[in-house]
Amino acid sequence: MKQIHYDKLQETLYHEVMDNGLQVYVLPKPAFKKTYATFATKYGSVDNHFKVAGGEETTVPDGIAHFLEHKMFEEPEGDIFATFASNGASANAFTSFDQTVYLFSATENIETNLTTLVDFVQRPYFTDENVEKEKGIIGQEINMYADNPDWRVYFGLIEAMYAKHPVHIDIAGTIESIATITKETLYTCYNSFYHPSNMLLFVVGGVDPEQVFELIRNNQAAKSYEKQGEITRIFEEEPVQVAEKHQESRLAVSMPKCLFGFKEKVEGLTGEAAVRRDLITKLMLDLLLGSSTALYQKLYDEELISDSFGHEFNSSPQYAFSAIGGDTKDPGLLLERIKEEINAVLESGFAEKDFERARKKKIGGYLRMLNSPESIAHEFTRYQFRGGDLFEVLPIYESITLDEVNTRLHDHVDWEQLAVSLVVSP
């Protein structure tokens, strides 16, 4: 058991790698009643074409990582939710582009619940019948998202940007793609990506670290895993330019939704370099478009944007893009005005005092996030899978310079790389 103390944050993290390769982290929060645990695999919707050392190259149906997540909850003796409920735990799971996360939160029976979490994820049970049954449920989930304009406009943007990279494929797949999923394809994905060496367990709350490690050590030692070779994820080459400049979908909305962003040329960044690039980019976007900027206030007073106007930056070693926008009565005019205003900032650059204020805001936001066990677990795992460390963010924020932010602005804003996605009423 390794202990890492973060003095400024007043937090101590404990870490151990199990013999089978499973990474286990524990963050004790003695003042907290609840324990929150996530068990994550570095496997998400983009991992649809892969090869495990010694195995065959495989392509699997769209939406299968998410389908697998649903199916893990079924055990020979029934639904695992019932077992969690008997022990007072609230359980859930989610699938993103690059990870699948199983979780629970509970205030009692922590050891039992941890065992349940680890065991159910390490015990797949797929039958022809239960796979078919799930298609109806996920079909309704897909339909629900199809009616959600925010989801539509977001995926529309990624579809406009990416021609080849599977990030443009909806995480749940389509009714047609999930129709082809069988228990065999599920087992193939399970066996490739749910090996302990591809997974991370994070426990935060009122727990004793040594007790948790002891429990997990014994639990893992009782299961036999053969050593697994490296997983190679295969991605077709993605063109630098956007696939389409403009994408439009139709849904009943009170006002058009307009989301736009810049697709970046990627350089395969990982580890601290990637974390630093992400933090700088997010700081830069906030300085450019945040709700305290002159640009934001002008567009708000012109009634071109509303409180829904926001921005984000999403990246992996193979993709990096911003998504900016919200509801607007006139997407064309909004884009025209945004371009004028952003070009003016490109000329002037950011001011030192604005930069210092934005940095303070980011540091405050980061510290506030550390109140939430859920956020800590999710963010920590996300950073770890990228080779970064969530608890080393503060020194990075403190070392960012205005020059770096101004340089990032010029690198990111390239009008040739702009894509726009709209949702408008039929």
Partner: protein, 425 residues
């Protein structure tokens, strides 16, 4: 979790509730202002906080206002407007990091109070009323928000169901007000209604963090100094409704998935001694993934991705929501009604009871870990007049058996079935 740990007092006409704790890296502040939900004031009450967030005497321009929050290490500031029983509540929130984590020259708690006090009591005034451009823009903002409800079909269907069920009561009103009223609002009459609102509202101020009641009291007197008359208490004029006939409402919109919502009436409210049985009833019916609705509508029949129920103890209503293929409407209604009947018949297993108790226990215990959850729980007590700690509620839940749940089921009567369906049908 013994008694919720808040120390209660009064200052500047407000009730003050302070929970001193070192458990969080922040100070959490909530100010609740409640007025009776009323057609004549609902819109101006909703609009006022939008105008207040645009500028104050010290920070007249919105960019200055927001820059100030950023200087306070990105202090969180926001407000929510919602209904609780027959009251319209405006809740202002601030969330500021504890100074000990940063090298701050100012006391962040003190500065947060200064800010919140200013927002509420010293708005930007021009010629004795609000700045006209702020009122005009925020009127449009509220209008857009009201119009945008339809974008989220799940929320739209839930709100429409309540609106239909409570069409004869103030509760039909949307907490953001009525679109038709917006045009008649001017800077002058809005300023008048803001003044009346501030003088008439029931005010509760909460602080959770590393502080003391004495410190908070001083800050309140300094920054909310304007003399308010002493806040009154919330009162309830709840009258149980007897349902004569289940009413079905169908609405057509361009949707892929149908939204099936139901509204139920119960005589049990938050302050009722049977409150714990109503919580258990809702938990067994549809509060969790082990509940009857999830198991029967989703797991057994694959009809839906979500199927759940909620219970609102301040209004004495229950709601059910699910998203289904439109052609499965009849089947889904039958299955859901069958679950309601099962509960009325007392078909409740020991396992359902013990699982639901464990889940409610978890929910109530988890409140401890979130400053704003602690605040919301204690505010229920101000709202209902019922003094019952989480611990006491837990003990009550623990004592509930199938008989009590069955008795609670008898008070839940289906009132309205609302179905949002596609236009293509």
């Amino acid at each position: 979790m013994t008694n919720n740990g808040f120390q209660h007092g009064n200052a500047a006409g407000m009730r003050i509730h302070v929970l001193p704790t070192k458990a969080f890296k922040t100070f959490a502040i909530s100010l609740y202002a409640g007025v009776p939900l009323d057609e004549s004031t609902v819109t101006s009450t909703a609009l006022a906080p939008f105008v207040l967030r645009r500028g104050t005497a010290t920070y007249p321009e919105t960019t200055q206002f927001r820059e100030r929050l950023e200087e306070l290490y990105g202090a969180g500031f926001g407000f929510d407007i919602y209904k609780r029983g027959d009251y319209q509540i405006v809740q202002f929130r601030m969330d500021t990091i504890n100074d000990s984590f940063v090298q701050s020259k100012e006391s962040l708690l003190g500065e947060s109070f200064a800010f919140l006090g200013e927002v509420l009591t010293r708005p930007l005034l021009e010629n004795g009323s609000f700045r006209a451009s702020y009122v005009a823009t925020e009127r449009e903002t509220v209008r857009k928000k009201l119009e945008a409800i339809v974008n989220d079909k799940i929320r739209y269907a839930a709100e429409r169901c309540i609106e239909e069920m409570c069409r004869q009561e103030p509760y039909r009103l949307h907490p953001l007000g009525q679109r038709a009223d917006l045009d008649g609002i001017t800077p002058e009459n809005l300023y008048e209604s803001y003044t009346a609102w501030l003088n008439g509202a029931i005010l509760d101020l909460y602080v959770v963090g590393d502080t003391t009641p004495e410190e908070v009291e001083k800050l309140v007197i300094r920054h909310f100094g304007r003399a308010h008359k002493q806040s009154e208490s919330y009162t309830s004029n709840f009258k149980p409704v007897t349902v004569q006939e289940v009413r079905t409402v169908e609405e057509k919109l361009d949707v892929n998935q149908g939204k099936l919502n139901m509204g139920l009436r119960t005589s049990i409210t938050y302050k009722d001694d049977r409150y714990a049985s109503a919580l258990m009833y809702n938990g067994i019916l549809g509060g969790y993934p082990h509940s009857k609705l999830f198991v029967n509508v989703r797991e057994k029949e694959s009809l839906a991705y979500y199927a759940s129920s909620r219970y609102d103890g301040h209004k004495g209503i229950g709601t059910i929501q699910s998203g289904i293929e439109t052609q499965n409407y009849g089947k889904a209604v039958d299955i859901i009604r069958k679950q309601l009947d099962e509960l009325k018949a007392g078909n409740i297993s020991d396992l359902e009871l013990s699982q639901t108790k464990a889940m409610i226990r978890n929910l109530l215990s988890e409140i401890q870990d979130s400053a704003f959850e602690l605040i919301s729980f204690d505010f229920n007590r101000q709202l209902s007049g019922k003094d019952r700690s989480a611990q006491e509620l837990l003990a009550e839940v623990d004592g509930i058996g199938a008989e009590e749940v069955k008795a609670a089921a008898d008070t839940f009567q289906l009132d309205t079935i609302y179905f949002l369906t596609g236009k293509g049908e």
